[in-house]
Symmetry: C2
């Protein structure tokens, strides 16, 4: 249908940062894209409720409108790009685009994580497709890597740094010894964090992306509720420092694992990892995804996870793939097992086996470390390292830092509850998981 005519008309809905970038690429690089792909992609409509604010791209006259129906009713437009964001009106827009016979390209991770199944079903019913490379890790072609590059593999695990705001903040804390508020303010000043950074720093944004990647990697319908989430908003510079002393760097990791029994564990949390590991070396606003797969072993994908032009690059890549008809084939071949099959396989975070870093503010009294060690031992937790500095914190307390051998989350939660009830512990204990990303040990 598409290749017979090499002219493809595209309509954008949402003319914010990414929409501006997409318009820029489509207007300025149409010749280059045609030289490379043989396709003439034409921006035919841009819809936004705000038609007056200046944007750093000059649209041809008559293109910008606040009337979605203009786009919907133009049968010559084959592709609708939803860049409104959020889970409210954006869903309605995607459904309308599909119903009007448009294929949909979107960067909306929140909506796909929330209502993906409903939207995919609507697309199938309309015999159209939804392409969403731009929804995960911005300009890094990670969706395509999982869907096609690794198609011959069973994917066993995904470890992702999926939020550039968090990685920028944590890198600043680690590298420049800034505390969280300073690092966040700096990220906002540099444009790496929104004025309201909540969805980034509380881990929700990473969870949205993980839910989408896990659906592709594991082949099941995944719900946001399946992902256990902790953010970085309570991370203290003290713990970044102690971790560094013990040769760890702190990253907000999104982790999806499937074990041999088929159980799937999905979680987003601050993680101490080795600074020498490939993900440990990813600094600043960059994203990276490391994938362990059955045949190929470890592969990693690195780049900018956000920003006007990098996300726009992924959107336009999707437009090209839709225009070629490749997205439709991939979309149609996407086999997602229904949710009731996966539900009993979603592993509770209580069962997670992990190493842990804990910090207690202990009263400076004789026998305190012995007391804490005993409680950990009572819960079957074995200590792998400890650090107690001289000097004192608030209320005559000293920090006691302990790292553990692998143990169940449940054991740790119970031990922490008991520890926090002690008289000799001055504040709520801090607990951060230590993640040993498996080495690629394929010996082929």
């Amino acid at each position: 249908m598409f290749m017979a005519n090499n002219r493809i008309k595209v309509g954008l809905v949402g003319f914010g940062t990414v929409g501006t970038g997409v318009a820029k690429l489509l207007l300025e690089d149409a010749d280059a894209i045609e030289a490379k792909t043989g396709l003439r992609i034409e921006l035919a409509a841009v819809v936004d409720i705000d038609t007056t604010s200046p944007r750093p791209v000059k649209l041809p006259a008559g293109l910008l409108t606040d009337d979605l129906n203009k786009l919907l009713n133009d049968d010559s437009i084959q592709i609708g790009v939803e860049l409104v964001g959020g889970t409210g009106v954006a869903k309605d827009i995607q459904l309308k685009l599909l119903k009007a016979g448009k294929n949909v390209v979107t960067a909306n991770k929140a909506l796909l994580a929330d209502s993906g199944s409903e939207l995919y079903a609507a697309a199938r019913a309309a015999n159209r497709c939804i392409a969403f490379e731009a929804s995960c890790a911005g300009g890094i072609p990670i969706v395509s890597a999982i869907r096609t590059g690794l198609a011959a593999n069973r994917i066993d695990a995904i470890y992702g740094i999926l939020n550039g705001t968090c990685n920028y903040i944590l890198s600043s804390m680690t590298g420049r010894d800034e505390d969280f508020p300073t690092a966040l303010a700096q990220a906002q000043a540099k444009g790496y964090a929104e004025a309201d950074p909540t969805l980034d720093i509380n881990g929700a944004d990473s969870a949205h992306k993980l839910a989408i990647l896990a659906m592709l990697a594991f082949g099941y319908e995944i719900k946001l509720d399946d992902v256990s989430v902790e953010g970085i908003e309570n991370i203290s510079i003290d713990d970044v420092r102690y971790g560094r002393e013990m040769d760890y760097v702190l990253k907000l990791l999104a982790i999806g694992q499937r074990d041999r029994a088929g159980r799937v564990a999905l979680r987003v949390h601050p993680s101490f990892i080795s600074p020498g590991s490939p993900l440990g070396r990813v600094d600043g606003p960059f994203n990276a995804v490391s994938i362990l797969a059955s045949a190929v072993g470890q592969t990693m994908y690195y780049g900018r996870g956000a920003g006007m032009m990098s996300t726009a690059s992924a959107v336009v890549a999707d437009i090209i793939e839709v225009a070629m008809g490749n997205s439709a084939k991939l979309f149609n071949s996407l086999q997602i097992q229904p949710r009731d099959e996966i539900e009993p396989l979603i592993d509770s975070i209580d069962n997670l086996v992990s190493r842990f870093y804990i910090r207690l503010m202990a009263k400076d009294q004789p026998g305190v470390l012995a007391c804490h060690s005993k409680i950990l031992g009572d819960h079957n937790i074995s200590i792998s390292g400890a650090l107690q500095r001289e000097g004192s914190g608030p209320g005559n307390t000293v920090p006691v830092v302990i790292t553990t051998h692998p143990t169940k989350q449940k054991n740790m939660s119970d031990a922490l509850a008991e520890l926090s009830r002690l008289d000799n512990v001055g504040a709520e204990p801090v607990c951060i998981r230590i993640v040993d990303i498996p080495e690629d040990t394929l010996d082929d």
Copy 2:
């Protein structure tokens, strides 16, 4: 044509290491691939002149044959996989496969670098496609990343560690302070180097891969002769050590660059780079490709570049893409400008502007460093750092290590020629390029 029938028959030609891996994946993972893609891929024939040696995969009876015609004459086989390697009989096999109406999947970088244009033309004439993801960087989906993921970008530069053998050897020299022969022997013992490692260590294998990637990235027909090549066979542990002291690690880089005027520079050579850069951290047998692109900035792709199962993973990914019909569309849309357009744009290595590391074994006499500095200055070469240790080498010489600011290759070659004619220089000077991989400074 293909999707109407979800059964796809595949014939392999070449039953060596990678062929065995592909057979294994197709036989053992057929169900998993069908669950994921809806396609039933069936291994229908395996052709090899050696039908008796045991391989670590059990083929169904009757599949293995030494008669290529059995595969060619079986019209139910839609895809022929050429894994014979080399530029001789392999070319004949690919042409025969195309003529018999098969689509071709191949990992043969040497053949594509040598005769790609002829083969692509034959494929077009036969209305079939050639898919070659496995030819570059093994299991890393780099061909697809350039072709589709970055389709909306103008690619400005590729920096690749494309040969795992060389990277393993250089990593061992850097990390374990081994000399070249020891590191090579170790690589052979571990299976990371062939018994005859010539094509790996002399840079030819990297040049083959670079020629293919540059064709995709820059859109021109590239010949092997366009690539300036130096290998690692003459690298001395002394230079690895001095480089380390000056905070560089040594990598064999394959570099393709296009400047604003459209000039293309293609080269493979040992390169001192920053140990903190993403490529500087790629150790052991791993490959990585860093790409600078107009919209997305820097992206990097990391993984195993060779080995039975990782290369097989890329071959089977291509089989799936061909089976879906996606490869045909991509292949047909591939716009390669003819050679006469690129020829005047290929930049001579003489014009290369680079920083350099040079080591001279100088007679331990007064005024030697001044003499050398003067010669460099006479050729417009400005010194950025120098290192002269006490002690002596063979024939009362001392090593003088100098690093330079950016200068033209031509200036350096002329200066080296003059230096090597000096009485006070005891051996041929060593010269290694220092590559400052541009930082991604997009500020979006």
